[in-house]
Symmetry: C2
Subunit: 703 residues, 2 copies
């Protein structure tokens, strides 16, 4: 049974092999003519410059945290932490590199139609997807083997948990920094280009166009990748940590049968999901139609196949690991937890799709509301986003209850309470087991978006743009679906980590301590105060990130205005006159990195300070932040997605089409939605997890 | 000591006398020329028609609830409940009646300058203010005397609590229904009038103008009055209920010294605050300047004087009631709780002022953001509102901690836990003791607003409009301040009611029951699920009310368009052609009453259903709804107020003034903010209290 980590390690290697294979396939495709290559190179340079600087800044933070972990927890914890951070950064870098190669190649392939272009864009995304899942599972399996199975060091499980904190650190800053960058560039480019100068989107005359395309790669690819790396890692660590801290395990105990099943199951499900994702990825094929339904089916075939295999594999694994009648009652219970999680993750993604796709009522309604101007468009999006919160919370509650019930079925009666929470923890893995293929589909979106930008900038035949537009329109929905998985799993993982924190505190205090255990009774004033502060923090965090986008966008706008003013012939598009795009990229990079520091630091410092003051307040705080952060995350992601697609729906011809007053109103909605869906919203699920995992890792310092 | 209810009864009678006196003074003033009288009469008729219908609809709900209370709790509880509802409705009716008389009279007085107009508008508001506080305290003192002191019936305290539920029922529907009406009319009038037909605000040609003015009276006067009636009532009942349920009192026990102090103190503070408000109201005098600072000082003098007297009186009352050394430690502790509450209420109001007044940074920043279009205006308001949430939560947490600490100082060590919660409960009274004068200042706002509308419609000299505009611009800030008090006290009152609910459940179960007491441990799955659902409900409620405004506004817009199309000469302003305003009023009335049913019913039914399913889930639910509802209430109120004043700031000449592009962007912000600040936002604090008090009253049905 303790061969499972080796299996998961092997499946991770296989995933990385697949990523490498897709990389060679993408690289072999032609990037098109000289002009396309020049644009691609400029985007590449910008994205690399941003990530290099971002990682440099974040490295400072990682060093401080590593020192803190080495002193407060264990020196080996610092190594595990740095490894988690480094692998996450590596996955982001790999994804960005291939995405900035795949964009022009997708444009070029689009000349021959969607049958060539869709698989190419998907493969570009799949490098990211399998790099994320592969590097995470590789690192995690290795850390587990090294510290738990091989060296059996003291505090082995705390050290494994630190790997997750490393992943969270990178995710936090990548999501926030990348999110600020991408939207500052997008908003800046749109406001000056479309609104002031009256030139179309992605026009080569606009100095901010390259920065906008860079943003897609550093925000929607690298940032999103780090986010999912963290979610995936966290979901596997949560049940391991829960088991270890609840039963106060040291590495030596990990070999005992009962514990072993609990510790191995998460890695086993990850193994099954990884193999399923690899199979799924091969089923994605292109066709000749640009019909949205057909494209969507082709793209989602991979996810659907992977999910089916995961369901079957999970049941087999559960039957294998939980068959010991002395220790367990019904093996299928824990299988039901995982499958329940998978289904709820899918359903939350479906809610996101229904609320953000132009094929359903909500987006059509917002588009209709744009007939009465921008104010009603905004109100429509806000209320649609809020209703989607209700639907998603009901689903997540259903998921929690199913997973809890499932866990209870598998464990003997004395362990019902633990079993239920364990069920919740593994439900999150169920949601994320197919991360490889889910991220592939998600990262496909920005590649298709970039491909369209390059077609425009390189002034290719409009038919090429038509193909890329068809591919791109899928991207918004796939992004919403992936966000659904990410935020759904965040709620479950955070809940499991939260319970681990509860037991870790008791462990840390030791058997002879007077520490009475964490009180989470919100009827107590200190816990209630924590709950209140926790419910407030996501609002503050959202405000800070939205403001950051505004300030960074303003810097960009000033620069674009300056160039239009000072470079003769630029606005008119005179022959041979090109904008200084690199300057825009540099300005946006500086601004967004500076802006990411305050919200990022807040997320780490606030739980530490509260924990040192009063650990019960921290408990309430984490609970409040979890539920409110989830609600705000869903609200912002879906409202933003809905506005975006309402605009696209109008641009496709509804309500007077492009240029009419309804379209102008829809553009306002889209611009408001940009920082909602790509900066503040997706940062929320990392926020709630980072705060919980910081508390968990530093639990011993609090008692 | 048990003379206190007689004292509070007397002070209530004095307050009603003052309201009657102000009524005669307002009535004695001339309402101006024939045209002004005609407009006033039309507004009056519309407001009466709306309230009559609203109360008819709500009466049905009240009857159902009364029957339920009679069956589940006690037949006398139904009487107390209906009395609470009837008095609240009466206060709303009185306020609306005098407000719709004071509007034209203020316009007429404005011909002679602000020295006449300001006191008149204030007195009009004061009728409302003192009717609210007077009728509430009258009813409450009477119910207390009747059931506790005179007849000593069984379940006397449950019956007193039902009075609060009666007030809450009216408040819920008045705030939601009135809020939908006023904003549907406002948005409808603006969109067709200003945007489509290009005619100015309050133009007599616009068929929706009368409805818009009716809306100010039914939403901002009657709705707000019912809201404050409920808050004030709830804040006094909460510590009484807490005491009674914690010590499991029956009416006979209420005479014992220890209990008596606890039961009398809330009424005594209310008595002190009432006298202070009456004195304060007489210090409001007008001056000849239209300078905003001078007007604001004149208007707020009343509040400031009342607060100072309340502080001194509270200390005296605390020294009197808590001087028994055997039962209590330091009398000043509980005084500190009340004064802490008062200061925090003032500070939350100040936060509202800073974030919504054009004299401070946030509004100026939003105005500056309107330079780059409506999208950045919206984002600026959203982030400003969210930051104000952080400031307000920190204040309320400070208030909770001070009040808790104060309560602990007064009670002996064994009662520290109870003492702290009692301190929180009376802190809410501290915030609301001066309700008489606070509501007077608040109700002044819509009267001044109406006065401006009448000046415009009656085509008076522009100098009159200048005076009314100066008076009106104060109104936005005073409304924000009153909302700060209302929502701050809501958080404290709900917390105290929540604790009462906790003990009421144990009482209801009885000493021989197997009920283990309410668990509020959010680490338990059922409580956590409740917390999650509770955090979600305010989002759903906000979405429903925002959508309701949109739908009702659309009905109005269609009607206005029809009239412009079908009534020849209307748009051109031909001599003798008048719009059919009554039709618009009727349409808006029907639409908003229909729309109020779903959100209103939800607020009552959801806690009942959850309580019957699992009482611990209900506990978590109430906690989640409290903290998230508070955050959303502050967010929406302050974002809305900030947009409104950013628009006014621009109209006063900043950023190009009226008609420029920044102004157009600011109008979009204002329109989005309308349902935020006047419908969804203010409904939140009633929502959280109504759900808590429903749970409290029906506690015995849940165990």
């Amino acid at each position: 049974m303790d061969a499972v980590p080796y299996l998961s390690l092997l499946s991770a290697v296989a995933a990385l092999g697949l990523a490498a294979f897709f990389y060679t396939r993408v690289k072999a495709a032609s990037p098109g003519d000289e002009r396309m290559v020049a644009i691609m190179t400029e985007i590449q340079k910008g994205a690399r410059a941003f990530l290099t600087q971002e990682y440099t800044w974040v490295a400072g933070f990682v060093v401080v945290m590593a020192v803190l972990i080495a002193i407060v927890i264990a020196p080996l914890g610092a190594i595990s932490y740095v490894l988690g951070a480094a692998l996450s950064a590596g996955a982001g870098w790999a994804g960005m590199t291939v995405a900035t190669m795949a964009n022009a190649r997708t444009t070029n392939a689009a000349k021959e139609g969607p049958a060539k272009a869709l698989p190419l864009a998907f493969r570009g995304g799949a490098v990211m997807g399998f790099a994320v899942a592969g590097l995470s599972l590789l690192g995690l399996s290795f850390v587990y083997l090294l510290f738990v199975q091989w060296t059996k060091v003291d505090d082995a499980f705390e050290i494994v948990t630190a790997f997750g904190l490393g992943a969270s650190s990178i995710a936090l800053f990548s999501r926030v920094g990348g999110g600020i960058y991408t939207k500052a560039a997008d908003v800046g480019a749109d406001l000056v280009g479309k609104v002031e100068a009256g030139i179309p989107e992605d026009d080569p005359r606009n100095p901010a166009t390259i920065a906008d395309n860079v943003g897609d790669n550093v925000g929607d690819v690298a940032g999103m990748g780090a986010d999912l790396f963290e979610s995936y890692t966290g979901s596997i660590i949560a049940p391991i940590a829960l088991t270890a801290f609840t039963f106060n395990l040291v590495a030596d105990d990990a070999g005992i049968d009962f514990n072993l099943s609990l510790l191995m199951f998460p890695l086993a499900v990850a193994f099954v999901g990884m193999l399923a994702s690899i199979v799924g990825a091969f089923t994605v094929r292109g066709g000749d139609s640009t019909d949205a339904g057909a494209l969507s089916r082709q793209l989602h075939r991979g996810t659907n196949v992977a999910m089916l295999i995961t369901v079957a594999g999970t049941l087999a694994v559960a039957a294998w690991l939980f068959s010991d009648g002395a220790a367990f009652e019904n093996w299928w219970g824990i299988g039901a937890s995982v499958i329940g999680g998978l289904l709820v993750g899918w359903a939350i993604g479906k809610v996101a799709e229904v609320w953000t796709s132009e094929h359903y009522g909500p987006v059509k309604k917002i588009a209709a509301q744009s007939e009465t101007g921008p104010a009603t468009t905004i109100l429509g999006g806000i209320s649609a986003g809020m209703v989607s919160v209700a639907a998603s919370v009901v689903l997540i509650v259903a998921g929690v209850l199913i997973a809890y019930w499932g866990g209870q079925q598998t464990f003997v009666d004395e362990l019902d309470g633990f079993g239920g929470i364990y069920g919740i923890a593994v439900a999150a893995i169920g949601m994320l087991a197919t991360t490889g293929v889910v991220v592939s589909v998600d990262a496909y979106g920005p590649i298709a978006d970039n491909a369209g930008g390059i077609a425009e900038m390189a002034e290719l035949d409009p038919s090429v743009r038509e193909v890329t537009d068809a591919l791109d329109s899928l991207g918004n929905t796939t992004a919403a679906v992936a966000k659904g998985f990410a935020v759904g799993s965040a709620a479950l993982t955070a809940l499991a980590l939260f319970k681990s924190f509860e037991v870790a505190l008791v462990d840390a205090a030791g058997p002879n301590s007077s520490f009475p255990g964490l009180s989470l009774d919100v009827g107590r004033v200190d816990v209630f105060v924590g709950l209140f502060l926790g419910a407030m923090l996501p609002f503050l965090f959202a405000a800070l990130t939205i403001d950051a986008v505004g300030r960074a966008a303003n810097k960009m706008i000033e620069e674009v205005r300056r160039q239009f003013r000072e470079i003769p012939g630029l606005r008119e598009g005179a022959e041979g006159v090109t904008p200084d795009s690199a300057k825009c990229v540099a300005i946006s990079t500086q601004a967004s990195l500076r802006e990411m520091l305050l919200p990022g630091t807040l997320a780490v410092v606030v739980p530490l300070v509260l924990g040192l003051l009063d650990v019960d307040t921290l408990g309430g705080f984490l609970a409040g932040a979890l539920v409110t952060g989830f609600a705000l995350a869903i609200f912002m992601a879906n409202a933003g997605g809905a506005w975006d697609n309402a605009k696209k729906y109008i641009e496709a011809g509804a309500h007077g089409g492009k240029g009419g007053d309804p379209h102008k109103a829809a553009v306002v909605g889209d611009t408001v939605g940009d920082p909602f869906k790509d900066t503040a919203g997706p940062s929320m699920n990392i926020l709630i997890k980072v705060m919980t995992i910081v508390s968990l890792v530093f639990a011993s310092a609090f008692v």
